[in-house]
Amino acid sequence: MELTAKEKALVTALGGGLPLVSDPYAELGRRVGLSEGETIAVIARLREAGLIKRFGVVVRHHELGYRSNAMVVWDIPDARVEEIGRRFSAFDFVTLCYQRPRRPPEWPYNLFCMVHGRERDVVLGQVEELAETCGLAGVKREVLFSTRRFKQRGAVYCLAPETAA
């Protein structure tokens, strides 16, 4: 889907979220030169097109007590990766699930999913449950818990024209 310059500017402005004012769409629009109605229409169109996966309150799990953030990586046979990816996504404790390229020999894994939990043991049990339910007992996997968060913010796609670094 092609975006106009103003639409790209709106996407970038949206990176910081809605301003907490009575008329946030009008305010966002003012920043990029769109009317309130146009701003609402563009966001609606991005949602319908699936470019926006979700629009609403974005919580920070860590601050809400979800201290165990595990990135689970799997070496799934290519022929099964799509099926497994879809099955993983049906579990409500799986918050993200992506296929990514293997980089042998250093990185043999092609399926990534994120599991957030309040306790490490619970998360490890959930990973076990994924493996058992989907018949992946013999599949190589690793669980990478996060230990420190250096930065977390929404993706700001830097769609604005290139600025001097």
Partner: protein, 153 residues
């Protein structure tokens, strides 16, 4: 430490993760559903943002749908990690940056308007640190993001 939540906070955190009202006064629409006034909703969201429980009220974009992004990983000697993490953080193209328990101990997301910009950032980080950067762009996204059901103890 997560403190006890008011009923209003829980409902704001739980029930409005998706399909946020797209109308001129969205916070008033939320307020009506919760039986409070608009100013209370705006003030509560502001407080949740200030304390870090809420990152923003806004969009979660599909990776690769708008612009380009990749997941990058580095194996950083432990004593250099604070320095390298700080260096990586300074790029506006980097949004998430985590230490993880693995030989590859630094994981971050780089996004930009196009693939060339993403690669330029990875190259720059590699040149400045003298360390290899693993580039793992998304091939397929299987997860339909419906938000995250919170379990309150």
């Amino acid at each position: 430490m997560a403190r006890a939540r008011t009923e209003l906070e829980r409902r704001l955190l739980d029930e409005f993760q998706r399909d946020f009202p797209l109308e001129p006064r969205p916070f008033a629409a939320v307020a009506e559903r919760l039986g409070v006034d608009e100013a209370t909703v705006i003030a509560t969201l502001g407080r949740l943002k200030d304390e870090g429980s809420v990152s923003r009220v806004g969009a979660v974009f599909r990776p690769g749908g708008v612009g380009e992004s990749t997941l990058a990983a580095m194996a950083v000697p432990v004593e250099d990690l604070p320095y390298v993490a700080q260096l990586v953080n300074e790029y506006e193209e980097v949004n998430h940056n985590y230490e993880r328990e693995h030989r590859l101990n630094l994981w971050f997301v780089v996004c930009g308007p196009d693939r060339a910009r993403v690669e330029a950032v990875l190259r720059d980080i590699s040149t400045r640190t003298g360390l290899a950067v693993l580039d793992l762009p998304m091939v397929q996204d299987y997860h339909l993001d419906l938000g995250f059901p919170l379990r309150w103890n």
